[in-house]
Symmetry: D2
Subunit: 421 residues, 4 copies
Amino acid sequence: MTNDLPRRVLAPLEAALPDLEALYKDLHQHPELAFAEKRTAAEAARRLTGDGFEVHTGIGGTGVVGVLRNGEGPTVLLRADMDALPIEEQTGLPYASTARGVDDGNDVPVMRACGHDMHVTWLSGAARLLAADRGAWSGTLLVVFQPAEEGKSGAKAMVDDGLFDRVGRPDVAFGQHVSAAPAGWVFTRPGVIMAASETLRITLHGRGGHGSRPESTVDPVVLAASVVQKLQTVVSREIAATESAVLTVGSLHAGTAPNVIADNAVLEISTRAFDDEVMKRVHAAIERIVNAEAVAAGAPKPPTIELLGAYSVTDNDEAATAALTEVFREHFGAEATLPAPQVTGSEDFGEFGRAAGVPSVFWLVGGYDRDEVLAALNEGRFERDVPSNHSPRFAPILHPTLRAGVESLVVAALSRFDPPR
Amino acid sequence: MTNDLPRRVLAPLEAALPDLEALYKDLHQHPELAFAEKRTAAEAARRLTGDGFEVHTGIGGTGVVGVLRNGEGPTVLLRADMDALPIEEQTGLPYASTARGVDDGNDVPVMRACGHDMHVTWLSGAARLLAADRGAWSGTLLVVFQPAEEGKSGAKAMVDDGLFDRVGRPDVAFGQHVSAAPAGWVFTRPGVIMAASETLRITLHGRGGHGSRPESTVDPVVLAASVVQKLQTVVSREIAATESAVLTVGSLHAGTAPNVIADNAVLEISTRAFDDEVMKRVHAAIERIVNAEAVAAGAPKPPTIELLGAYSVTDNDEAATAALTEVFREHFGAEATLPAPQVTGSEDFGEFGRAAGVPSVFWLVGGYDRDEVLAALNEGRFERDVPSNHSPRFAPILHPTLRAGVESLVVAALSRFDPPR
Amino acid sequence: MTNDLPRRVLAPLEAALPDLEALYKDLHQHPELAFAEKRTAAEAARRLTGDGFEVHTGIGGTGVVGVLRNGEGPTVLLRADMDALPIEEQTGLPYASTARGVDDGNDVPVMRACGHDMHVTWLSGAARLLAADRGAWSGTLLVVFQPAEEGKSGAKAMVDDGLFDRVGRPDVAFGQHVSAAPAGWVFTRPGVIMAASETLRITLHGRGGHGSRPESTVDPVVLAASVVQKLQTVVSREIAATESAVLTVGSLHAGTAPNVIADNAVLEISTRAFDDEVMKRVHAAIERIVNAEAVAAGAPKPPTIELLGAYSVTDNDEAATAALTEVFREHFGAEATLPAPQVTGSEDFGEFGRAAGVPSVFWLVGGYDRDEVLAALNEGRFERDVPSNHSPRFAPILHPTLRAGVESLVVAALSRFDPPR
Amino acid sequence: MTNDLPRRVLAPLEAALPDLEALYKDLHQHPELAFAEKRTAAEAARRLTGDGFEVHTGIGGTGVVGVLRNGEGPTVLLRADMDALPIEEQTGLPYASTARGVDDGNDVPVMRACGHDMHVTWLSGAARLLAADRGAWSGTLLVVFQPAEEGKSGAKAMVDDGLFDRVGRPDVAFGQHVSAAPAGWVFTRPGVIMAASETLRITLHGRGGHGSRPESTVDPVVLAASVVQKLQTVVSREIAATESAVLTVGSLHAGTAPNVIADNAVLEISTRAFDDEVMKRVHAAIERIVNAEAVAAGAPKPPTIELLGAYSVTDNDEAATAALTEVFREHFGAEATLPAPQVTGSEDFGEFGRAAGVPSVFWLVGGYDRDEVLAALNEGRFERDVPSNHSPRFAPILHPTLRAGVESLVVAALSRFDPPR
């Protein structure tokens, strides 16, 4: 089964790398928060237009879709996410971000700490190569640049905004993520590859007053501390050793001055599980605990609990994943195509396949120096020395990362299209 | 001992009230944070200049001093503080503040929630009356508008900036505070009237990462929660029932997103005690706890502990207080001149007397409707219904509050000046 | 006002000291828990009988009263308490206790760690001296040996058991306590000298199971930990700096094996305050917190809260205390008659005066080497080096402690009796 | 492969059930704690002797081994554990235990809450059947009644006491456990079936004193509460979602009276993991936390940490388990031979195979009514209604539980022996 088409389509990639590197650095230096990806979307749309795609913008807010109808055959959806995070970059890179954005009304630093700049670059590169060699395949290519993956349900926003009505329904959906693993390697897994998650905002209502007179107040800082500690027991006592869940209070904010007791405290919580039933128990436990802790503290009213977002598990179609893994083995070699672990991070990529009722596959692409990663693992200093996604020091190397992620998208798409007619 | 001079000096007060009321409302609507009291200082200076004072500005940042040399005799220092707090006003008053300011680099709402607008108005009124009737007294009047009383050591800043070198040393220092008590009443106390305090900022260093992978991080939110809870034991277990201390974590900030574990958490703490030795024990306990909790959490480095400010007790001179109390009884009547309780709030007014080596007296002036206060006390709803200093609902009534505070300053000053010659 | 009668009554004291010392050591070596003071009561009764008292036993359980009707005149009640504590002695004294007793069904070590052995010895000595010189006074002497002072309401038990119906009503009640202060000194205080207190037992109901499967249980140890921490906030946040309260969880017991999650946890709590209203707030806060924490933990049912005992403040009659202080000054000298501090310990001695509707006075008698106490105070090592009441190292010196406490009772009683007729 | 021998050996089982039922009830009613299984061991030895075994007693304390040399062939070790738990039985069964025992010097209730009475009964029954039909097999049978499985390392005690030197080395070791699953079903699993565990006793040293004067003490109850809460973070924050660990503080004891602050608090902790490296991290985290919390509390000295026991994972030999599973399928049917889940409980059964350097297999045998278990699972009330091992309500049904566990041992043994010669 020698198929020369991938090699042919990918032939111009070497020459395209300087452009992709420039695109990546520009995106990295200009990160944009969820649903504010205007500059990113504009650049993606500009490139798609130039490459001959039919371009749809503003889907689900800032989403962009490029459609390339290239004869009969299957419709393949390739997706990249565009948003950045409210994190202050500490990579020290020459192209590090100093950008700021507005998050829940606050002025915050912004960084592409999850590698979505890499995703956008990969997909832009793959789209250009596939568009440039339409003789190599037959079918319809849907290129999706999604906003607001970071807990803000951008995929659902695009679907709800009529994505499939506007551009048609795919036969399969593909997505990928850069990760703290050796560059040049890809990682696949049938079944659940990424966890379900929920994002909650909880406002604990106290009663403010002078810092010297706590007896006339209900101190929301002390209440919040109690809630955070009690929430640890959800995982430590309510989840079986044979199950899995993560509950992180990512942010906690209360008060504006040392000598003033504030009126309330705000917690933002992110939870994960590899199973829906566990997720429900975690959610119920959080509600039980925050409500009761408020009573214990004598709070004037129950906490306000807002569900900011909820992602289901990312569940890779078994057959499609097996087939794709075979394709990757052939292209990258068996030594560079490895089984992915279950990842506790969450994704809303699965939404596209779920909403369309078609198989979807999501895989990981390494982005760090191979020798350094392997040495760090061997020496037990991986956690400390290899900054993971969402770290302020997250910094994929550009080569061969850029190349590998373009290749994976191209070979994945070609494996599903019909051969040229 | 019939002394008609106070009555004579105060005679124009009735007619001056509309102007003072306008000044108060203007100050209330335009609050300014510590060391940013530019508008307030400018207005105070403008009035002093108009009243014939020699005016010194920019002492200790934004401090203003008016000097009126009126013949031989003692020098009396009257002081008002000018700064506001980072609190969002909730009084619903027509002249409520909607102002914002910058606090530690953050954009925050600002409110004169501690009544310093009343203090500035009182002192402006008293200065004008004393200046208008120089025939009633002999001596030198020092009118001090101090910046940054709220934990930022504005009094010390003025002293360190050469206050007494510039304007001379007083023979006595007087200061007063509006409080949630019946308007028209004054409250005095020999000895310690207000607590010592410290203000600390503690940065707990964790190690950030993705919210789904806590095992690769040291979670500063969980560490902060543990610290806040453990700090409760300082008062509950380390202070005797026969002693007194307050430890308030007024603000706690960590993290910017629900699914990102932050690198650190910042606590701002205010402590109080009526005794220096207790204060030292509280400080030592805080250091012990935050350092050990960081070790317990596996923190990568010890917490950063910054002492932002430290106020000693406000210790009223026994003899001067006794004499002044007698003067107040004569002026306001014994039924409106009451013993003040020990107040857990802190003040840096004492710094003026301490630095000058002269007696000082600080007293309280009621600012709320008498019938309402007494009813609330009787019905056990005082704490709930009478908003205290630093509450976002703190709202003194204007009458007779304005009048009483001007009168108290004038009679206090006159009681120390020599009679006219 | 030279009154030679005290000196005359006390004359045989010197010769009686060896007997009292032997009594003290015997009592110390044979401590008995509340309501189990059989041996102690028998010895007290034996001595009273020998001294010619009319003896009543078994009042309020193990209480003993001796009555000596000696002509017309006031009736004076002198009281000592008899019970020991479930503490393992660590004094290393030759006469240290190795006794054990049964406390709530458990076999526990027992120690007279609060000095009640000294109280019994003092009162036995004073009773003998007063009985031996009936010519020195006129009136009726009531000598009360009370059981169960340590939180078990022995005074109330005696009153409820008809104490005053059986032996008549006194005109005044006196009691005293040995304390970690210089031996030979006495300490008096008008008004509240000792705190009010409550003793509570709280059973937190969880749901047991295998230690490896917490998800099928409600872990009472974790719930108890949460309750204990939250209870710290009662004092740290709900009591004003100008008030006073102590909340101690003295015992906490849960579980019988490391790998079994227990069905419940039992906390025993002792609270103190110098004010009834504060006491009520503390009680309400405890109920609020334990109930809500049980809900937060998902407990199968609310905690069981038992009030084991409640003592009011020990409130010394102002006039009687002033008179007695004068008597002590005359006898011990002004330098050895000092003002007592407010003590956070509690006492049910006040019950006798309250129930009889007569004045009562309670005072403290030092029991430690004067030079050592003063040196420890000066060198800031008092807390560490001078074991206080309830410490396993509490060990009063015998001389002059024995003598001083007998003298104080005798002069107090004589000061109230009529002179001999 | 029709093998009639098992059926033949098991033929007398039906008639033997009344005797086994009586034995089970007697053992249940007379539970004995670890290393105190004298009565149990005596009964086991008595039966083995009667059945013709060479009997060794007192191995590793109270351990009993029966040896039956029956010609050439492999040596098969069958093991049952004998000890009970310090739990108060709440089953309400007519044969419920009211026994008490001494645990760490305390008088405690005792219950066979982990089903070891069933294990002893099963093994006694199987030994008798195999001994009664020696014509059915050839080899050597080792019947091991082990003391102290519940965290006290009884298996190691037997091995260290020269078990294999005395009775020879087996070729394979088999063990089984009754569980809260349908009676008549067996459950097997290759690889790790039960977790590693550690048992720790931690004494937190405080400084005792009077309950009203916490400032002169270091309160061990508050310290213990803080430790328990902080320990929750080991699982909630330091173990990855893709790993597993359990940390249970099974017992916590401090103090003897509500108004006395104790000198120390004692925690007993049990931990579990399915991986050795995780176990080490958990252990290190516990040490880090308890030491630092003691510093945070100002403890006079570091905690005392005792390792009471440590069990490795129970790691079933892959090949031996596969073969045995096949044998069970044949005997019980495929519908009654199911894959076992990984169980978070721990076992020291693995010690026998490890020490002997031979394969071992451990499996589970259901002990509850099948319909009730399945209904409870379907209706989501399994956790609540089906009392698991170590519950005070743990109560296997006798039939067909007794029969199934005897059968499994017999067929397992026969599957390894040589056929009769």
